[in-house]
Symmetry: D2
Subunit: 349 residues, 4 copies
């Protein structure tokens, strides 16, 4: 194919970066240009990411945002917070597109400082960033942008379940409880005692209760759908599995409507969506049913006895929760079929 899109990835050797690479590499409309690395420059990519050994010929190059940006049409960043500033600046300077899978453009300056403990070095660019879950606001990309703040994994699963219901004005928003369960890959590829196989196998534990950085992200972006304050109690848990997020969301109804009517609101919202599926009454979402795919499965249960509405939403944290959604966003940005490169059916079993 002529005129391939020139793509570079900062952070290609982490789990999110690997998922991105494996999906972009086999596309005939994409050319991978640079894979910069701070710690492994000079090594073959396949030496650090052995699953690409059959197919990868790239060499990890030195970390030079300017150089890499100039050569590329679009940059993906899959980096720890604070490491994207220089890259964003270069993209701005040279008029290139940036899709940040990291967290640097999701919050406003004040909340960024508060939750990430860092002054934002390119804060004025935050206003230019479009935070986009395509099923909720793909038009914001179509309206034109160069900088996409790709949503976090937990926030994606939670917003897909909650946004249509908040928008419909049927649920209480002042104390929404989100009890989320994530696979270990969400903790990244860095070396930590807690993510060793022998420590995490056969283990479930909560972490960051009430203080996880995805809480303000959810609150900020769900607030768009309501005039009343949106407050979230967020409790993430680590599960003994590699991929997958299961968000169990508890709220109550403001109106006297039935479970079926609630489900119908979600169905109407997502009726033309390929990636979001509202399951039939009584069928519970399973993380395995979306494993390795860009799908999101949602269902609701209205508990007659207590009046609670339970919303259950599952995604693969590395696909719809990160790189798959980033590719969806890139496709929109470039006017390509949104499903291209992420249309695959989940890997079962």
């Amino acid at each position: 194919m002529e005129n391939k899109i020139k793509v570079s990835i900062f952070g290609a050797t982490g789990y999110t970066g690997i998922e991105l690479y494996r999906r972009l590499k086999v596309r005939d409309d994409i050319e991978i240009v640079d894979l910069p690395s701070k710690s492994s420059a000079g090594k073959r990519y396949s030496e650090v990411v052995s699953s690409t050994i059959s197919i990868s010929d790239e060499i990890l190059i030195e970390w030079n945002p300017e150089k890499t940006v100039k050569k590329s049409d679009v940059i993906f960043t899959a980096l720890p917070h604070g490491e994207t500033f220089a890259i964003a600046k270069a993209c701005k300077t040279y008029g290139k597109k940036l899709i940040d899978i990291g967290a640097d453009y999701r919050l406003d300056k004040e909340n960024y400082k508060k939750w990430y403990g860092l002054n934002h070095a390119e804060a004025k660019l935050i206003d230019e960033a479009v935070y986009c879950i395509p099923e909720l606001n793909r038009d914001s990309i179509k309206a034109g942008t160069w900088l996409i703040a790709n949503p976090g994994c937990y926030p994606t699963s939670v917003q897909l379940g909650l946004a249509p219901l908040i928008e419909a004005g049927i649920i209480e928003t002042k104390n929404i409880i989100v009890d989320a369960k994530s696979g270990v890959s969400g903790a990244g590829r860095g070396l930590k005692l807690a993510t060793l196989y022998s420590e995490q196998n056969e283990n479930v534990n909560a972490y960051g209760v009430g203080i996880h950085r995805h809480k303000p992200e959810m609150e900020k972006h769900l607030q768009k759908y309501s005039d009343e304050q949106v407050k979230i109690m967020f409790t993430p848990h680590l599960m003994p599995m590699t991929r997958g997020i299961h968000s169990t969301i508890y709220t109550t109804l403001k109106k006297d409507i039935s479970e079926d009517e609630v489900r119908q609101i979600l169905r109407v919202k997502y009726k033309d969506e390929y990636f979001v599926k509202v399951l039939d009454k009584g069928i519970m979402p399973h993380t395995k049913w979306v494993y390795g795919s860009n799908f999101c499965h949602i269902n609701v249960v209205l508990d007659q006895d207590t009046g609670n509405l339970v919303i259950l939403s599952v995604i693969d944290n590395l696909v719809k929760g990160a790189s798959g959604q980033a590719i969806q966003n890139m496709n929109i940005l470039f006017g390509i079929d949104e499903k291209k490169g992420v249309e695959n059916i989940p890997l079962i079993p």
Copy 2:
């Protein structure tokens, strides 16, 4: 040792029964008398439970409650609901003790009918049963009984976390949300598609949302601690692991007290307990930290932003959530050191 306690187990080939057998078999004060089996009578026990192959010499015998009860001092039943009635009747008739690890004596007659869909055939014995989590009410056994309704797995983890706080009158009880995560062994040893390795590995899903049978059990037994109605929204989830329950419990405070004060209430309650440990501020319970043991770890987090109190409680579902607690109860019933046979430190890693 002379005068060993003569024990028989109905249901010794299920996961709960196996955990019971492996702990009783190596005790010098216990003699295992009968292991009746409906489907495998005549086979060696170790043929059906291969992990006992080095040590077990028992033959599974035919299912004859009268015969078995007469020969025994105490009977353990680890059976599906409805299968313990005849055994309980025989124990009553012959003056023998019964510890029911199943669900037949945990609810009153009406709720049993409602939640288990069955008329209770020995309903008058329910009143004679003592439902006992030793750390909460061991005196009820010491006061004398012959029939112990051993608590369910989820209810044990939840009551240990909630009871002292409800008793102290500090939390709202009308809409307590229990989001629980369990290992697959809780689903039993029967053949089901959902519990095949290839279906459950890398999978998390909720089930029985709001309608699980452990909900009325929790409500009934927590109600003892409050004059206000106790209502629970219960959402159990299956995890890709064999053992362990993690209960994440959400409620709000009725009084203006601190997280430390809440923790202190639990600490005072359990200060002399070997098996229940309230962790230090910020240390989250991990199911692996109690794996293969009779311990329960608890902690609390008070979320300043939303006002929610989160209680986190972990146990091993087959030990503290079933057979370990049953042995604790047996020890109390026979005046033996309560820890005997269940004192082991968790299996790590």
Copy 3:
């Protein structure tokens, strides 16, 4: 796309069938015609295979080989042995193509009887069948056939490692030891105690030592490469994982050549192959590095101390070991790019 290939799958609800469906369904040159089912006819496919719930609209239809064959261009069978006979006969009658992922056309009549305990009802068709691992003998399909015997999972990993070395005449063939390790999905989707999560998690065991049905398959098809008798000692093991086969193969050299020279023979053989990769000296194949993909990674170690040559070969049992290879074979049969639909990079992590 016009003139789509009309495909039907017998056995689409088993693990092999699911892998086939998920790869064919998203292709624009394939039309899925019939998904016959003996036990679930009338149900939606996605009801039985929940991971397809977002994308599948097929209804499982009744099991009628004649009817289904007539409507199709090519049939895939992923069935227990003995169940493909009637379907093969219908394909022969109506001049349709058949790719049997099962075992019914891999052995000669006598060995089929001996190892599968069944008289072969369509034995004369065995001679018309082409047994094809594309990297070893894709020309046999190109020469023309209507019936492909798709190789078994273990035999695929073993032949890819051994065939070039036997052909080169450098290894002893009279006592080749194959110690193979497989994920649980290889045992199928049927209900068995041994494949329950709680039984197989944290477990490794050998099974069918020396008597597994893949032994004669390996021997028959490796015999093509040598005048000396090929004898294999085959020991398969179950691993606590879902997918993947690791074959560790022990033999000795007939000639005095170096490890590098042995590796070079494999490299030359596979130099133009997309799916087979011979790793660099000292890099051991990992099943995870081919997870969810059609790749095979191979390496060799020559042990100076004992003189043994160890060949290590890994595949995903459901892809290169079954449905991926079946699609490769179909592509060849229809003159399509061999990689189409199976080119994806492994799913990591």
Copy 4:
């Protein structure tokens, strides 16, 4: 109990050390004196080993071999190679007993240098060390020693399967193939990319093929049973599980005897042993059947077709393969019932 044995553990925070601690801590005849730590001195033990949080009151103290040895009756070392020299010297000086679970006293000086790449600083003590698998040579401890070289995990499983057959002179010893599969805990608690959950889950790979340090250990100690040279081809593999070793051993018979007769040789050898069980014909050992226990299960298969004898042997690498056997050895050394503290039945499921 009066006169408790005073025990100290060097390396108590690693996986082997934890298994040792959890079994010794609950014994009434043992007093744990010192838990020295190089990296965590001053911290509570339970801070580093959270599963002991309910029961441990020890503070990790500074690393001072002399001080610790003087206070103790017996020292356990569970350390990387080369770190036990100073401790052994102190034990010798002060007349204290030492059980080294590490590798420093298993090989002769020359092989230690060759395989561990280190000059042995206390080489003269090697001759005083007793290398003991109790079921094979417990008398060597009874004859008197102060220094026990506790066998490695792989070597224990292999020697228990092979020693009686080599001793009986029925098998060829010049090219014994050992294909072993181990849980990840065998790789220790250190931080390595390869043992992260997301890297090792769903993965099998060989490592150290032919060059693993347990090869010379097996050869040295099996050589005692034969005048002919014992040569082993050793291929260890990592499995996606925490605990367990499965050794599949291939050899051939020197004599024309039956599978039953081979099994009988093993049965006679182990007839009075509590921990070693030879399974019935056709019953394959499963690592899960010995999980968390000190048992070893063995069986043999004689393959008629190829003449190979396959010996299958399973243990828990941290118990019979390390700390359980170390306790067995300690019990023998102190004239205590050999089973004390390790008699527990495997943890199933």
